[in-house]
Symmetry: C2
């Protein structure tokens, strides 16, 4: 049962944790979003790769949904005292990951190689691949100009109008080693319940990945991150609207339509199932709110069962 | 009363803290050792500049003699878990200083500029100048080969035989902006009780600095870091012996003889005073063990009084 998953951050981390309970972790390959990657204090931060890695290592701060459990923020406070940017919450233990990554990248290793070294050191048996080793930066156009994703999301708390979204560098990027093969040879592909525009979008923007999804013999299933007309978390609604999509599971279906086989919708969106069917996609209605570990496993099981039907 | 001080780490920090009680801090210029500077985890560490800065900011961990008071070591533990070098004790708050320095140096600022920015941000009113903006690296020859100073001192705990000491890069280095002028225009120059070979040595190795000490109209006073035939702290004895010097205040006097006017020796070395006099240097006998803040100020006062005589 080889599973390849396209993943953003928190929502993806929960579903992957559920899948890893049901399937041997070695059989899971995660293709992670790097569109949110940023430089803070000269360090290369890969928030979504880290969230997935920490979750699969059992180290994620589950209350926050990012960072390491029981981390402290002494360095951040000292940086603020030095007059440095302190809007990005880098914990002291978390810093080690960024220092490690930055030093290795500076020494010429690829992001894939560093990501593998980190997940192995933390005991994660699933493969975690960045969508690309080349930079693909999500940029958000606001009335005052283009912002990096973290500036928009963390610094501005997503409280500014969004006019457009772009993936800088995507046209020059190629999939990281193993990415296309992982899609081609998978039995199932799972698109995690992540922001379609800024988590899955940067992955799909890498030339070759959407084509591989269309060409694979694997069945492709997505879990809608939009429930009841609003995202479960984060700014997906605002960003989907900026891209002219309905903020609903139907909007997700339309975006993924060229290659999607099944879409998991929450029970409260059951009325949308006929619209999904009309797009040529099989709707799967179940509870999608991953409020605890049991719910994560239940959603993963429902997805695997639907794929097996 | 313009004072220029040549300084290493812990011993210098104590005397400078004493001087700053007696003299307006703005009138003190510190020329700091960078021979111990090293790269750890891709970060530029300047241990002696930081020790002096933290001491004058009132932030030094006085028990350890280095680092910030009440610092934590979460990042260090996480780096060890990632299989990284963890023999150099970088605290979480201390990391902010190194991140700040590294980022600014990478952006093209000089070590002088960064050192000024850090000490100002921490509220230090005395000037702190690196001896040179160019790298001058203390190297220690052991039976198994050359080591960087931190490898010798921290990793090997100075427990290896020393055959020689060198200052790599010194011949290509020039004094940092303000260094020669600070020596030329000072009323007094104080050589702090720091390791003569690996703290003061790298400063003197920068072309022009020893010449400026010989030429200045300031009176030049040193405090011996060797008391009772052994260094107050650190590996100075082993290093002086490797350089063929007696491990005593007389050895210090011989090393500094070309430009030294006064040498402060501890009371228990009073018997060495005639030998110091014979070298053409005025001995000043007093208590030099800075076991508390009062002793720091008392030693600073004794030095200033001797200079005024």
């Amino acid at each position: 049962m080889r599973i390849t998953a396209l993943a953003g951050g928190t929502g993806a981390a929960k579903l992957l944790r559920g899948l890893a309970v049901l399937v041997p972790p070695e059989q899971i390959t995660v293709i992670g979003n790097t569109g949110d990657d940023t430089q803070i204090w000269g360090l290369h931060i890969s928030p979504d790769l880290d969230t997935v890695t920490y979750a699969l290592a059992g180290l994620l701060d589950e209350e926050k949904g990012w960072g390491l459990r029981d981390d402290t923020f002494m360095c951040l406070a000292a940086m603020a005292a030095l007059g440095q940017e302190a809007w990005f919450n880098l914990g002291d233990r978390d810093l080690a990951t960024h220092l490690f990554r930055t030093e290795r990248l500076a020494a010429g290793q690829s992001l894939s190689e560093v990501t593998t070294a980190i997940r192995r050191a933390l005991g994660v048996r699933s493969r975690i691949l960045p969508a690309s080793d080349a930079p693909v930066a999500t940029r958000v156009l606001t009335p005052t100009g283009w912002l990096g994703f973290q500036e928009f999301f963390v610094r501005e708390k997503a409280q500014v109008e969004v006019l457009d979204v772009a993936y800088a560098g995507a046209d020059q990027a190629s999939p990281a080693p193993g990415v296309l093969e992982a899609i081609r040879t998978a039995v199932v592909v799972v698109i995690c319940p992540s922001n379609p525009i800024t988590s899955i979008g940067p992955i799909l923007a890498v030339p070759g990945i959407a084509e591989a999804l269309a060409a694979t013999s694997a069945r492709v299933l997505a879990v809608s991150p939009i429930v009841g007309g609003a995202p479960v978390s984060g700014p997906a609604g605002k960003l989907m609207a900026a891209k002219g999509l309905p903020v609903s599971a139907v909007g997700v279906a339309k975006l993924y339509r060229p290659w999607l086989d099944l879409l998991v919708l929450d029970r409260r969106d059951e009325r949308l199932a006929p619209e999904v069917t009309a797009l040529g996609i099989t709707p799967v209605v179940t509870g999608t709110m991953m409020t605890d570990r049991g719910a994560e496993v239940a959603l993963a099981r429902a997805a695997l069962e639907a794929l097996a039907r």
